[in-house]
């Protein structure tokens, strides 16, 4: 796996450019903030992008496994799923890595004749994009579920008194 050795060699450049690519999907004033503010509480979105791209990159080197990449992808996509992005924009960052690898490591791939390894790696990244799509959909479904649940909670007692709710489990006479 010479290609992964190459990727490891260019790791910091690749991650840094990948972060840039994600951050640049936001308006320019926001991108500046997301990149420069380091505090995890003052800049949760930027902090998440930086830390999770590192984790995802390590997974790419290790071999993309659905279970392992899911939490890292989830943290980025959960944010983008409720921001001002279309579904394709929300998950496009996964594909950005493909283009960056070709751009940064491409000449060495050619020299070393690693085309087949590149095809395999890109297939793994495509798979990661599919996992990203699943995660995006589950986030959206969750938004709708939560909205329905909230309507019920906001008038909980009125619905309960009108017998419009299924009783929650509580003490039964024989237990007390």
């Amino acid at each position: 796996m010479k290609l992964k050795t190459l990727l490891a060699k260019h790791k910091s450049a690749l991650i840094s450019r990948w972060v840039d690519a994600i951050v640049e999907t936001y308006p320019s004033e926001t991108a500046k903030f997301l990149k420069n503010k380091k505090d995890q509480f003052s800049n949760p979105v930027g902090h998440t992008i930086v830390s999770e791209t590192k984790n995802l990159f390590d997974q790419v080197l290790e071999g993309v496994d659905r279970e392992k990449v899911t939490p890292f992808l989830d943290r980025i996509i959960r944010i983008r799923a409720i921001q001002e992005f279309t579904p394709s924009q929300a998950i496009s960052f996964v594909f950005s890595l493909k283009y960056l690898i070709r751009e940064i490591v491409g000449p060495e791939i050619d020299t070393e004749d690693l085309d087949q390894e590149l095809v395999d790696l890109e297939a793994a990244l495509d798979f990661m994009a599919l996992v990203a799509f699943d995660i995006y959909m589950s986030c959206r479904e969750q938004v709708y579920d939560i909205r329905a649940k909230e309507v019920q909670q906001n008038a909980f007692l009125l619905l309960k008194r009108a017998n419009l709710l299924v009783e929650k489990p509580g003490p039964k006479p024989e237990d007390s």
Binding site: F33, F41, N43, V45, I82, E84, R147, L157, L158, G170
Partner: protein, 528 residues
């Protein structure tokens, strides 16, 4: 400034219903939607905006100052939860304020009128009104940005005025307009009639009897009670607010407080505050009016956020002085609440803290041992009235596991829930998730590092919106009012086994009586 907002589902609020506007005499009642091209503004809408702005520049020196003194230093830029969570630069407080400042310059200042953009001015168009509607209903008036402004510019006040001007055109939202109309007609946001309000509380009393084994009989509209208790109506019907209300009922019974509920002043919250100063005054008036009618000595208020901003910063001058009331004194401890000398109204958490400090409560904090709570400072009680220590003091006395969040996101630096100032509508959920992200992110940290499983708070809107926010961002963290945790720990006289909590769930911290005690009790029963 030139990008027009797009009204996509999930990110804008529904328009105020004509019937609600008519009920309270608000301007331009009509059927319309923010997604319409034609917003059906009044014929002379530009004149109305110009006059409305000019009048408010005269009336409110703060507004005039805030329009003139900003030097665009950027200190506020990254402090807004909506900017942090949405990434939309127009949510930087400086830019949000610029949406109205540019009109102030372009329409009211000579340089701006002549030089236009060169002098930072722009002309009033319908698109400007649409932009105002989009962004001024995307500010929760939380005032976090004002903490960081070197000039002390309070962007919340700019939003307050902007919303007043929008209301002059009838461009308001239903989640505020309908509660305002309901509150004006029946006393509370949901429009619960007096008998329904009372029956709801009685229903909760039945639950207390079932789960705690104590029968409580509070009074309603009782003349001559020492204290009037007023709380947000969300506590009377919404989950988990109702468990907080059960907490109040148990606390007052535990100490034998001479108090009464009012089915007329049945709302502590005041969405008039998010409409106009006049509407805030109209809705607030019932608290003092009811205290006078019932002849109480002072008013005790439940857990709420913006209610306390109104009480603490406006009520006394809006509807006071309430010279028929006395300076509040805790009848059990003799503590004189100096901070309430003028308003005559005390926050339940201050009251509870005083009771604990003077050993007036019998508490068993181990009843909360399965709960690892953190505390969300409501923007209004922290930045609006400086109540920072009392909730933590109470929590540390009723729980053994309290964990605070990081210092940069608590107390006066607290992040908003993202749904305050009337933005807690269901149709706005995605925007609320953006606004609530910084708060949820801080909760997530203590959840992962310390196992925090409960987000406690002293605000009814927080209680209503945090369950959704936690479900999305930090699953596994519940939401409760501080008074619910107090009630869990209260050892009530004559109580039964506390096997179940106030929610009717099995209490994991319940410890059955030791076997010898149990058999001794059984023996005694047998002898009888």
């Amino acid at each position: 400034m030139d990008t027009k907002p797009e009204f996509k589902p999930g990110t804008f609020l529904y328009a105020g219903k004509a019937s609600a506007l008519e009920t309270v005499g608000l301007a331009n009642p009509r059927d319309w939607s923010p997604t319409d091209d034609d917003w059906k503004l009044p014929a002379d809408w530009k004149g109305i905006v110009r006059e409305g702005m000019a009048e408010r520049l005269q009336r409110f020196r703060s507004f005039k100052l805030f329009m003139d003194i900003c030097v665009r230093c950027g200190a506020c830029a990254d402090k807004c939860h909506f900017f942090i969570g949405s990434g939309d630069p127009k949510n930087m407080p400086v830019l949000r304020a610029e949406l109205i400042r540019s009109i102030y310059r372009g329409e009211m200042k000579t340089a701006g009128k002549i030089l236009g953009k060169l002098a930072g001015g722009r002309k009033l168009t319908e698109d400007v009104i649409k932009e105002w509607f989009y962004y001024f209903y995307q500010c929760t008036e939380c005032r976090r940005c004002s903490v960081f402004c070197p000039y002390g510019i309070d962007t919340a006040e700019i939003t307050i005025i902007a919303r007043e001007i929008l209301n002059l055109l009838g461009t308001n939202i239903d989640w505020i307009a309908s509660p305002v109309a309901n509150c004006f007609m029946t006393g509370n946001h949901l429009g619960l009639k007096p008998h329904t309000f009372k029956e709801n509380i009685e229903y909760l009393l039945d639950d207390i009897e079932e789960y705690v084994g104590v029968k409580i009989e509070p009074s309603f509209n009782r003349k001559g009670a020492e204290i009037l208790f007023v709380t947000p109506s969300g506590d009377v019907f919404a989950e988990p607010g109702i468990f907080t209300l059960m907490g109040y009922l148990m606390l007052f019974d535990h100490i034998g407080l001479d108090y009464t509920w009012s089915t007329y002043a049945s709302e502590g919250g005041n969405f008039g505050f998010f409409t106009s100063h006049e509407m805030m005054k109209r809705l607030n008036a019932k608290m003092y009016a009811e205290s006078k009618r019932l002849g109480v000595k002072w008013i005790l208020g439940g857990e709420c956020g913006h209610m306390w901003r109104v009480v603490h910063q406006y009520m006394d001058t809006l509807n006071g002085p309430a010279d028929w009331l006395e300076q509040p004194i805790n009848p059990l401890t003799g503590t004189r609440f100096e901070n309430a000398a003028s308003t005559k109204m005390v926050h339940i958490t201050e009251f509870t803290a005083d009771l604990i400090k003077n050993n007036k409560l019998k508490l068993d904090p181990s009843q909360n041992d399965h709960i690892i709570p953190t505390f969300h400072d409501s923007c209004n009680t922290s930045r609006g009235m400086g109540m920072l220590e009392e909730p933590r003091y109470v929590l540390n006395n009723v729980c053994n596991n309290f964990v605070d969040m990081a210092p940069q996101v608590i107390r006066e630096n607290t992040f908003c829930c993202g749904s305050g100032s009337g933005l807690n509508a269901g149709e706005y959920l995605e925007m609320r998730f953006r606004g609530g992200l910084p708060r949820a992110n801080a909760v997530k940290r203590v959840h992962e590092d310390h196992g925090v499983n409960m987000l406690s708070c002293v605000c009814a809107i927080d209680r209503a919106v945090f369950p959704a926010l936690m479900d999305y961002w930090v699953p596994g963290v519940g939401v409760c009012g501080v008074s619910e945790l107090v009630a869990n720990a209260l050892v009530m006289e004559g109580q039964g086994e506390r096997e179940y909590n106030l929610r009717g769930e099995e209490n994991p911290s319940y410890k059955p009586p030791a076997e010898d005690e149990a058999s001794a009790e059984a023996g005694e029963e047998g002898e009888e």
